[in-house]
Symmetry: C2
Subunit: 657 residues, 2 copies
């Protein structure tokens, strides 16, 4: 018969967190960010437990972190994932047999039990030490056996020497140890968790009205975008555009001969997903643009849309990659009875799916080789989840620095699943969450539930596809409000820049998108309008960079403010505390009484503290919980306060007199 401990254990791991609750997916962290692991571990009776956290970088060695017992049978350990890529971690736990014996022995000794009794107990301790000695390093084995001998000889004071405890701890054979299933964490660059994106169409950057801009024109815009504090410039597709069924102004079914077409109708005889539109200057101009971006400390995000215009080279080279109708013609994208004849979807289930999938992965590889490390993936929810799982995991193993943003505006389960399976960033419903209740509910879901472990939201007040009525009717104040909300509620945000900074928000009569849409025509923008919102961008981006509280997402807490048109929230990280108050009314002045949670922000109950308004640079001295705030949409509909925990008053200086 086998000994009991070979078959079962008294130790029981009840839970390990953080983890994704549904499915075996990794949680997400960034390089240098700590992972605080908490395990519930129980044992019958009162024995002491030991627990360790074991962390392995993919293909690397396993590191052990000692876990510390907290209250309520919880044990914690923290590791810092200091390089990119996938880590696994699991918890191992066992009974600290010698420690349990030792603690009980000390209690017996202190209670002055008779020496005859103590000597009997000592023999149990000796037996344990002999067992522990078997596999101990020679030096420690000797010491363990020396202790054991003193116990056998009845030296009742010997265990009081704490060295036996230390020796035993480091040589515990961990009999009956149990371990949890491995969990995983995907470690990204910091930029995957904290970034400001600026979207613009390179073809609209020419200094000459109506002329197709090139990457060299676009490169001239980068310095200013850098100066405004953005981190990433995101470009709609840069590939050759098809001419067959090309769309005209505002999605008109027939383009005029001089109209440039939609960049999402990818592919022409000049090339497809790995080519650059010749009017943009081709690959050489793109390479120069990348260099300028790099010199300015900016990264470039490309739009990858896996669909083809009827003129895409793949149509002829790989007709088998497209769905056919029974008459042999290629099936265009459609939502019967509507047909989108300028775009052919790919058939991910075709007989040659392996080759197709490989080719699509190689599109990413091609741009990664040219220095692009960030991809905004168009409509990933219309391609199989299995494809993305395969494609992203393979790319990330080779290039863990790459960041994928999922442009999936669809139902929640698909959006969350794309994040689970590997997208590092995700578009959200932020654009449609405009009331206090909508914003509070949505942000609470994103920051306070299990979703926060794997879904990193990117907040966009506008995109070329989405212009909300709030911006159209609310004008400049609405643009300020939505910009400040995006940039302060979420560490990752972006704007479709040119129309936003100029507060150009004419809605298309039929659709929730811009009129005179840049998707179908070349626009000319004034890149240096002093009336634009560029000053606000610069200020807010600087505030974000200087206050680490903005660089975390899960630290968001909503505060009470007695006005349904005003939103208040705090963000608190280490020593940095922020309180934001935003009016949601772009038309009228609003006032409301905010309640400051003094304890949570480490503020004094009965003495003053300073609030520094980072937008205006003004300081206020406050005391107590309740403060009336007035916000005027025509000057500044928001306050971003840095909370200063302590005010120096004259009394402070009196001490030195």
């Amino acid at each position: 018969m086998k000994s009991a401990s070979e078959r079962w254990s008294r130790v029981f791991i009840t839970s390990v967190s953080p983890r994704v609750l549904e499915g075996d997916w990794p949680i997400k962290r960034t390089v240098g960010e700590p992972v605080h692991v908490v395990a519930g571990i129980i044992v019958d009776g009162h024995d002491q437990l030991c627990a360790g956290l074991y962390v392995t970088r993919l293909g690397g060695a396993t590191e052990e972190v000692k876990m510390t017992p907290m209250h309520n049978d919880e044990y914690t350990g923290t590791f810092i994932a200091d390089s990119l890529g996938l880590y696994t971690y699991h918890v191992r736990a066992w009974i600290n047999r010698y420690g349990s014996w030792h603690e009980q022995y000390e209690r017996r000794f202190e209670a002055k039990m008779p020496a005859s009794e103590l000597k009997i107990e000592l023999l149990d301790g000796a037996a344990l030490l002999k067992e522990y000695a078997v596999n101990a390093p020679q030096e420690q084995r000797k010491k363990l056996l020396a202790f054991a001998e003193r116990y056998v000889n009845g030296d009742i004071e010997a265990p009081l020497d704490e060295e036996s405890l230390q020796l035993a701890l480091s040589n515990d054979p961990q009999k009956g140890a149990v371990q949890s299933n491995p969990l995983t964490v995907e470690v990204d660059r910091k930029l995957a968790a904290f970034a400001a994106w600026y979207e613009f169409f390179p073809r609209s950057t020419s200094q000459v009205q109506g002329i197709h801009g090139t990457f060299d024109d676009a490169a001239l815009r980068l310095e200013r975008i850098r100066d405004l504090g953005f981190d990433i410039v995101y470009l709609p597709p840069i590939h050759p555009i098809g001419t067959t069924f090309r769309k005209g102004k505002d999605n008109h079914p027939k383009a005029k001969s001089n109209e440039p077409g939609s960049p999402w109708a990818i592919g022409s005889p000049y090339g497809g997903h790995t080519s650059v539109h010749k009017d943009l200057g081709g690959l050489p101009a793109f390479d120069r643009f990348m260099k300028t971006a790099d010199a300015n400390g900016l990264e470039v995000a490309l739009d990858i849309a896996f669909q083809c215009s009827p003129d895409h080279p793949w149509i002829k080279q790989h007709p088998e990659w497209f769905k056919k109708r029974a008459d042999g013609s290629i099936r265009s994208a459609e939502n019967p009875p509507k047909k989108y004849q300028d775009v052919y979807p790919l058939d991910f289930e075709c007989a040659d799916w392996r080759e197709l999938w490989e080719a699509l992965k190689n599109v990413f590889e091609f741009w990664i080789q040219r220095g692009v490390l960030i991809f905004r993936v168009d409509n990933p929810h219309t391609k199989p989840m299995a494809f993305w799982t395969w494609c992203l995991s393979r790319l990330r193993v080779k290039h863990p620095e790459v960041i994928f943003l999922a442009e999936a505006f669809t139902r929640p389960k698909s959006m969350y699943t794309l994040a689970k399976l590997g997208f590092n960033n995700s578009y959200t419903y932020f654009t449609w969450r405009n009331t206090k209740e909508e914003i509070t509910d949505y942000l609470t879901e994103l920051t306070s539930t299990n979703i926060a472990e794997y879904f990193r939201p990117s907040f966009w007040p506008n995109t070329p596809d989405i212009l909300h009525e709030y911006l159209t009717s609310g004008g400049r104040a609405a643009h300020i409000i939505r910009y400040i909300l995006a940039a302060t509620l979420s560490p990752i945000y972006g704007i479709y820049g040119p129309p936003y900074e100029h507060v150009i928000a004419n809605q298309h009569p039929d659709r929730e998108e811009y009129a005179d849409n840049e998707k179908y025509e070349i626009r000319n923008w004034n890149w240096n309008d002093p009336e634009s919102l560029q000053g606000l961008f610069q200020t807010v981006n600087q505030i974000r960079k200087e206050n680490i509280a903005f660089q975390e997402f899960r630290n968001l807490k909503f505060l009470k403010i007695e006005n349904p048109l005003m939103l208040a929230y705090s963000k608190h990280s280490d020593s940095n505390s922020i309180v934001c108050i935003v009016s949601l009314d772009p038309f009228q002045e609003q006032k409301g009484e905010i309640e400051i949670p003094l304890e949570a922000l480490n503020l004094p109950q009965n003495s003053p503290f300073q609030m520094l308004d980072l937008l205006k640079g003004e300081r206020y001295i406050w005391q107590g919980r309740f403060h009336m705030i007035h916000l005027n949409p025509h000057s500044m509909p928001a306050r971003i306060f840095q909370v200063m925990p302590r005010v120096r008053t004259e009394a402070d200086f009196d001490y030195f007199v």
Copy 2:
């Protein structure tokens, strides 16, 4: 190369509920209770999905339940587990290829696309029908092929006949189907989810002062207990009691010669865990008692405490089952420096653990054979979780009607784990939750989190081990309050009856338990005191039985009442709505304004409704949300209202005039 669908699927099951979130444990239900399964299922694009729920009783056939699409990519299906024991269930999902084609075809047809176009689409439909026909039953195969032929022949109206859709649905080869991991549900008797327990010591039932009662005396008490509306009588251990180190009055270290000892010091030369104390009349008297209980419709719960007095037969027969000290003596229970010399714990890790475990399981088997189907297990958290997992699962497979109540007053993780691994009922912290905030927080945790799927709380205002100061100082009103809370907050509750009904609540000076504790002495109780709380017991038990809202746990909702010493809650099931209002102040009258959630209780906004106070039998006509309630602890500190949705007013009768 294999076709795509043999390797991966476009369908993705994101979640299935109900399930236990941490660990592969069964959820709990009772016979006849529906299990509402909700699955999140997604697919790229707009294809229709089919989903089925597959339910298998352990060792039985698998039943399929069609799942219905709801909003937000959720699919639901319900099964009723109509027999006891373990069921598994899983979800299977696949693309409804013909249905998707058919829907698109109809849209094309309705949009009056040219017949030439429609005829091309028809060929796709025909191909699908031919594929579906391959494995269809002959009759249906013929019909499917007939449709296919009409399609091939260009009959553009043929698909409008919905029969093709029905035929296809029932013969879908389910290409690319995926299925979820199986989940499990443990199905118990209704009594495991709704029961009133009455605890008493059979030895205190003699009609002669100071004489050891027998099971025949105890049997005389059953009719009254049945009449009071209780379902289960629970008896402390009934076995022979050891004499070595026997405890005297109130746990005195030395018993006098006439003192009976604690029933938990199990075992004497007359027998151990499968014997009945001879002064109780031995097994024959016990069997007669069981018959009387059965005749009264009562079930008997035995207390199983796996520990031995030094006189237990196992000490001699199986010395290897006990922990030894190094001098060879058996180690008694201890918490150094304290020793509990009247009790020896069993060594679940001994070399002969298999035999020991088998013997312990056979203790349950022995009593099950004698008709006992309910066990209150003493201190299960001091025995290995692995033992209980093994023991309970084996017993339940053979005897799925058996119910185990875990008497574990310990930290939450151990209590919840015992429930997960198989205990059907659990003691709780209810006894120590006395304020409004404590009760609200604890009940919210128990009813509204994942815990509610596997942990069935049993609320006890008192036990022989626990007498809370609230009862001691609050007297009769406190006893009424805590009784009504237990019986109306939780479908399962129990009382240690005799001292409770007589409001005898003298606390031991050193411990939170009764003085003159019945654990160590025989008490005499007046079983028919008209001043006792028996009338309250009878009324409340009847209310519970007549109102199905009390027979469910997860339907509890707390209501707003503007007084921190008053608690209000509703319970709503089908057509039965209850509102309870309880004062937590046993000393002074309290009043508070309650807010009735009219919508949740299906009550009219602008017309009156009736509230029937089930405790007093009085009716009130209310209208609107807000109502002032006065509660007097000296008359009745609670109201239990049955909500009547509609009041007949004279106006109703006018119609008939």
